[in-house]
Subunit: 520 residues, 2 copies
Amino acid sequence: MSRMNGARAVLKTLSSGGIDVCFSNPGTSEMHLVAGMVATAEMRNVLCLFEGVATGAADGYGRMARKPASTLLHLGPGLGNGLANLHNARRAGTPLVNIVGDHATYHGPFDAPLNSDIEAMARTVSKWVRRTEQVADAGRDTAEAIAAARTAVGHLPGGVATLVLPSDVCWSEGGLAAPIPAVASPAVDGHEVERIAKILLGSERCLLLVGGDNMRRSGLTAASRIAEATGADLLAEKSPARHERGAGIPPVDRLPYPRDPAAARLAGARHIILAGARTPVAFFAYPGKPSTLIPDGCEVHDLGAAPEALGYLAELVAARTSPVTADPRRPGMPSGALTAEKAAAVLGALLPEAAVVVDEAITSDQWLPEATAGAPVHDWLNITGGSIGMGMPVATGAAVACPGRPVISLEADGSAMYTLQALWTQAREQLDVTTVIFNNGSYAILDGEMQRVGAFSGAEVDRSRSFIDIPGLDFVSLANGMGVPAGRARTAEELASQLRRALAEPGPHLIDAVVPPVTS
Amino acid sequence: MSRMNGARAVLKTLSSGGIDVCFSNPGTSEMHLVAGMVATAEMRNVLCLFEGVATGAADGYGRMARKPASTLLHLGPGLGNGLANLHNARRAGTPLVNIVGDHATYHGPFDAPLNSDIEAMARTVSKWVRRTEQVADAGRDTAEAIAAARTAVGHLPGGVATLVLPSDVCWSEGGLAAPIPAVASPAVDGHEVERIAKILLGSERCLLLVGGDNMRRSGLTAASRIAEATGADLLAEKSPARHERGAGIPPVDRLPYPRDPAAARLAGARHIILAGARTPVAFFAYPGKPSTLIPDGCEVHDLGAAPEALGYLAELVAARTSPVTADPRRPGMPSGALTAEKAAAVLGALLPEAAVVVDEAITSDQWLPEATAGAPVHDWLNITGGSIGMGMPVATGAAVACPGRPVISLEADGSAMYTLQALWTQAREQLDVTTVIFNNGSYAILDGEMQRVGAFSGAEVDRSRSFIDIPGLDFVSLANGMGVPAGRARTAEELASQLRRALAEPGPHLIDAVVPPVTS
């Protein structure tokens, strides 16, 4: 058994667990992990200028690679900066090994300036948190973190495991690499699936709500067959972490974001059958409106966490039924002054084969699903936890995970400004990411929300602009400032020509697409 | 008693507590607070594009205004983005009322996508946390938050009070504005001061360590008199939140950042007397080196939290002694290719009267104290908690607090990229902030830390550049992209001419000062 320090034991265990990418923003307390990564050269270091980029990139990587990346963050404040995108990863069920360096174990009681309660912070976004206190445990704790990150819980395929590593644990000798514990896959509950099959074959109105891992070709194919065979309504969760779609794949509408249209979409269902989705709830509470979206008298049934359950259900109720799939079709190329609707058409017309689309276009995204429904097969990644600032980091990580695939990052101006530093990593790594900013000069979503919460009189709506308008952002300058070539599009033609060029050239590009605001 | 909703009760109480500035980044759950701010127009809304800007600005505001600003953040992820700068505010003891909107009380159990444990997250950076559960308590809880923010604890003059406001508490009728509880000032422990006076008048070697509120003219004057009269060594804490200095004010060295020089500076002291400072500790732990900086056999004495204690001590031991004050002097204007040292001289030569300097220049800052020691009186604000990304937000808040004073924000390229969005708020509010980026293309501090932790062999140091070099950042483009006029300086002459112009013109400016790296 070779002698090694704790940092080497951590890295060796990560390597044996198949983790070979680290999205990092380290500091002094992580220097022995950095030294180990430099010495062993088994881990690809993707440096990020802000921790929210690192955690969001690890989320995007995990969604596409279907295995964890690691992060490397510096103490409590570093973790703090990464929390918002860890929140999204938590809701996505993304496997992710979140490594946070800490002061040496004996340094804690001195409460040095950077000291804080890292574990309390980590628990708010993690399914598993551990602080390693002894160098002998460094490998074992890493192995358990990897297993925890890959273990399904409820409807989620994995999650965020946070490992807090004090600096003396990393620098002390006595580390041992550890084997990764076996990860149990969720089992199909055959009796429950058979019970649900009977409901579907009965006469009461059913709605099949798909989500999670069932948002890929095989799950959607099974779901479509079930819907065709039984007449059940087919719908997807609001924000799937990863949705495979396009020509040849069964199409599915997603639950709307605003509460009332969402409730209307579910109205009339006597049974809602969850296939990888959670029980749907209103995204926000509104005065006088219930939080639940489940119609009165409707029963909710759950196929459980095993993706195979949906296939078994299809065998039971739709053995001889074919799925309905999307036909290949592209919208016509629009012209003239750009709008969000025309931008969607341009994207639909040009979306390349095997694209990975990351969608944080917020209010500008409403025409995108239809415009891209018949495009070549692609993956569509959404904001799972509602925490904005995920798009550009997730696109960065997806590009690291899928070097052969074009990544298209659809951003809103407001959300882009949370984690814009992702562009620097895209430039440094020469990632093939094309960012389109739907730049409407405002937090347009708040326009709609102000109306929905009913808080404003007429005159106050005007005065509220100080909270909504965000003028003066020039994303061409901002992208150039981080080494990303960029252009501005004010017409559909300009967007099309710039998008064509960006897709044809390697490396990152950005298009500042100037559009009028859309109220959601 | 007028009828009002919870949001109005919160705002009326904030107003009666003297809080009239809110650094905001709200969302749906905060819309009734927004509506109330719009309707009553008693609160200045300073919109920030990222929550770390809002919390850092509130820190800068509180340090300069010596009263709290409020923030307005959106749920757990919004708080998460603000945590790093709240950590600095916590260490600074800045009075700050941190308002976080939450889902409606009845919406929580549905665990909607944005739901998370806000209070657990808040406790990691707050001295006081409360979630208001009933509209009738909204005013009272706000009043108690204000009092908590203003109450001294230990050596800190105030702190972060986090108030979590569910949306239904804000929109429900039945709010009551509440009076602000009286805040007790810390009392001088006369016997303890007299005991310490005897030690100072004895023959053993004493070191007076000043910090906190004693870093202003009156405290430093008392400290200087004591040192002159008794022969005590005079030193300041490493990172005072606000340090008043310049010609006519007693000069004081600050404890060095690296562990060994810090320990050397304290060596030989038989008594360390704390005057608003904490017991000094090593900033980080290093293999084989103790965390404490206190020499063996040295006793630590504490004058307590009351700033008046130092004045009383001066009366006891230095009644007839005058302070030593800094003479007016400016460095000569340098010329030629820019270095961090020459940039410091340019700043010292041009620093205007009553400037507020925010220092996050990291490794480039080592020549600044000497170069500005004899400049006109100014305030110098430091990184109190070691969490980088504080500089530009703190400068933003300081400018809001001090509209008549020029604010100079000294930044490093690495730290600037954490919260660069502050520039947009500076442009929108037309704040008189001049940002100088010491752009050395690297996380230069890690160069020094790698050596100090002893983790790298020769060849590995080269390979470690993937963690250290951050090339390709063009801060002129980045600033222009947010509406801030900017220029690049490669020589001392260029820096001087651009700095003169920036100081002469109103509104924000940025200078991208290209310098070679300095190893700390």
